[in-house]
C-alpha cells in the first residue's frame, strides 16, 4: 500500500515538475509573444488582404500559394478555419485551394511553429513549415484533379465576396513586425544574442539557497530530459499568475472600455518578458546577472511596443488586439497546462526501449507509426509539442517525430467529420489517405536530412516524389475521363 502511494506521488511530482519547468523555461520568451502575434494577426490583418486572391477567377499559381498564406496568417482558431474553408470551397477558388488551406492552417500557425522551435529546435520548426506548405499545395492540387468534374459543377456564384480591397495600415504592419522581432530575439539561439555584454554581481545569498530548495522540492533527472525549476523560473511563474489575475480584471470586460487593470496587466507582460530575457545565475553567496544580446533585443522591442500601443494604434485596434490575444490565451493555455502535466506523468510510465524499437530509426515503418499515432490520438492545440518532446527524449528519431507532428494537428476524428460534412465522406477519406502518405514521406525526407543526406538531394527526392504523383494522377484521370467519378 505504502509502495503504491509512493509511486502515485512520484507520478504526481513528475507531472508538477514537468509543468513548472515548462512554464519557467519555454513559455515566456516564445509563447507569450506568440500569443500576442496571433492576437495581432487576427485583430489587425483584414481578411480581405488575403482572401481577395482566392476568388474563382484567380489563376491557380496565385490561388494555391494564397491559400497557404491564408492558413498561416488568418487561421489560429477553428472559428476562423471552418467558415473560411467552406467559403473558399463553395464560393471561392474551389476544392483545391480550400484543401491547401485546411492542410496548412492547423500545422503552421504562428503559435505551433514558435512553440515547436523553442521546445524541440528551429530545424524541426522550419521543416514543419516548409514541408507543410509544399505538401498542402500538393494535396490541394491532387484533390482538385481527382474530383475535377464535381468541382466544375460547383455553384457558379460570383466571387463578389472575395473582391474586397481592404489594405493594412502601415502602422499595423510595423507593429506586427516588431512583435515578430520580439519573438525571434527571444527564441533564436545565435551567438550575437547569447553573448553577455556585461555582468552584475549582487551579494544576495538567499537566491542560491532558494534555488537549492526548489531543486529539492521538485526533483528532476537531466538524463531523462527533465528540467528543474530555477529561482528565476519561480519568479516568472509568479509573474505569470499575476498577469493572469490582472488580465481577468482588465481584459475580460475590455468592451466596456479600458480600465487601470488593462494597463497594469499589459505593463506586467512587458516587464515579465524583459526579466525572462535576463540570465540569472545564482552561486553560493550571491547572484550574477548577465545582460546578453537577447536582453537588449527584448528590451528594445518591448519599449517600442509600449510606445506604439497608446500612441500609434487606434482605440479599436488596441481593444481588438488585446481581446483576441486574451481569448487565445484563455482558450489554449488551460488545455496546454493539463497536457503538459499529463505528459510529465506519462513519461515515467513509458519505457524508452518501446519507443526506440518502433521509431528509433528513420524507417518507413517508424514514420508510419508516427503518423498512425498522430491520427488516432487527438490532442488539443499545441499539446502535440510537449508530447513530441517527450518522444524525443525517450529516443524517437527526428524523422518519425516530424511525421507525427505534421499528422497530429491535421487529422483527428473531429476534423475528419467536419471536413466530411462540407465536402462529402468520400473526399474526406481520400484526403485522410493523402495526408497519411504525405506525412510519412515528410518524416522520411527530414529524417534522411538529419542522418546526413545533403539538402540538395532531399529536395531532389521531394521533387521526384511530387512529380511522380502528379504524373500518376494525371494518367489515371486521362483513362477515366469517360467514366464519371463516384459521388459520395
Amino acid at each position: 500500500m505504502a509502495a503504491i502511494l509512493e509511486y502515485v506521488s512520484h507520478l504526481f511530482f513528475s507531472g508538477v515538475g514537468n509543468l513548472a519547468a515548462y512554464l519557467a523555461a519555454h513559455v515566456l520568451l516564445c509563447l507569450l509573444p506568440a500569443f500576442y502575434i496571433a492576437g495581432a494577426m487576427t485583430a489587425l490583418i483584414p481578411k480581405e488582404t488575403v482572401t481577395r486572391y482566392l476568388g474563382r477567377n484567380t489563376p491557380k499559381y496565385i490561388s494555391y500559394p494564397a491559400a497557404a498564406a491564408a492558413g498561416f496568417l488568418l487561421a489560429v482558431c477553428s472559428c476562423t478555419v471552418i467558415p473560411l474553408f467552406a467559403g473558399i470551397h463553395k464560393k471561392g477558388a474551389g476544392l483545391g485551394p480550400a484543401i491547401t488551406f485546411l492542410f496548412v492552417a492547423p500545422a503552421v500557425n504562428i503559435l505551433a511553429l514558435s512553440y515547436t522551435g523553442a521546445v524541440i529546435g528551429m530545424d524541426l520548426a522550419i521543416a514543419r513549415l516548409v514541408l507543410s506548405i509544399a505538401f498542402g499545395i500538393g494535396i490541394g492540387i491532387i484533390m482538385a484533379l481527382i474530383f475535377r468534374k464535381e468541382d466544375a459543377e460547383h455553384d457558379k456564384k460570383t466571387d463578389l465576396m472575395f473582391a474586397g480591397q481592404a489594405t493594412m495600415r502601415k502602422v499595423a504592419v510595423i507593429f506586427l513586425l516588431i512583435l515578430v522581432a520580439l519573438l525571434v530575439v527571444g527564441t533564436f539561439q545565435i551567438e550575437v544574442l547569447k553573448t553577455a555584454y556585461f555582468e552584475i554581481n549582487l551579494a544576495l545569498p538567499g537566491v542560491n539557497q532558494f534555488q537549492e530548495n526548489l531543486f529539492r522540492l521538485i526533483p528532476f533527472d537531466p538524463s531523462r530530459g527533465e528540467e528543474g525549476v530555477t529561482a528565476q523560473g519561480a519568479v516568472l511563474i509568479g509573474l505569470l499568475i499575476l498577469i493572469g489575475l490582472t488580465a481577468w480584471r482588465g481584459i475580460e470586460k475590455i468592451h466596456d472600455g479600458f480600465n487601470t487593470w488593462t494597463w497594469i496587466s499589459t505593463a506586467l507582460v512587458g516587464l515579465t518578458l524583459i526579466f525572462a530575457a535576463l540570465s540569472v545565475n545564482p552561486y553560493p553567496g550571491g547572484v550574477a546577472l548577465a545582460f546578453t544580446g537577447k536582453f537588449f533585443g527584448v528590451l528594445l522591442s518591448v519599449i517600442l511596443l509600449g510606445w506604439m500601443i497608446p500612441t500609434q494604434l487606434t482605440e479599436n485596434e488596441t481593444r481588438d488586439f488585446l481581446w483576441e490575444t486574451w481569448r487565445f490565451i484563455k482558450q489554449i493555455f488551460p488545455l496546454l497546462i493539463v497536457g503538459v502535466f499529463a505528459v510529465g506523468v506519462i513519461r515515467v510510465l513509458i519505457k524508452p526501449e518501446w519507443i526506440q524499437a518502433v521509431a528509433g530509426q528513420n524507417t518507413i515503418l517508424g514514420n508510419f507509426a508516427g503518423v498512425i499515432f498522430g491520427v488516432f490520438m487527438y490532442f488539443p492545440t499545441l499539446v502535440e509539442v510537449p508530447i513530441a518532446q517527450m518522444f524525443l527524449s525517450l529516443g524517437m528519431h527526428r524523422g518519425p517525430l516530424l511525421a507525427y507532428l505534421i499528422s497530429d494537428p491535421e487529422l483527428s476524428l473531429q476534423s475528419i467529420l467536419i471536413t466530411a460534412s462540407i465536402i462529402g465522406k468520400l473526399k474526406a477519406w481520400v484526403y485522410v489517405a493523402w495526408v497519411s502518405l504525405f506525412s510519412t514521406v515528410a518524416g522520411l525526407l527530414y529524417g534522411a536530412w538529419v542522418n546526413g543526406t545533403s539538402l540538395g538531394l532531399v529536395t531532389l527526392y521531394l521533387a521526384i516524389f511530387l512529380g511522380l504523383l502528379a504524373l500518376l494522377v494525371w494518367l489515371i484521370e486521362r483513362n477515366n475521363d469517360k467514366t464519371s467519378p463516384v459521388e459520395a
Binding site: 467558415p83 467559403g87 479599436n316
Partner: protein
Amino acid sequence: MLQIKILGTGCPNCKKLEQETKKAVTSLAIEAEFEKVTDYQKIMEYDVLSTPGLVINEKVVSSGKIPSQGEITSFLTSALENS
C-alpha cells in the same frame, strides 16, 4: 422591429458579439428579435468568410470581428431609418 441574427458556431467571440449587441439594443431602447445561427450550412448562405457575423434585417453588417458599441449602435440606427 429589427431582426437581428448572430452567425457563429458557438465560439467565445460569437457569445461576446451577442452580449454587445443586446447591450446596444437595450441602451437604444428599440425592439429587436434575436436569432442565433449556428449551423454553418446556413451561415454560408450569407456572405461571410469568418465568424462571428452580425446580420440586421437579413443584411450582413459585420463579420470576422466584434464591432465596438459605437459601431453596433450606428448599424442599428441606420437599419431603423431604412426600415
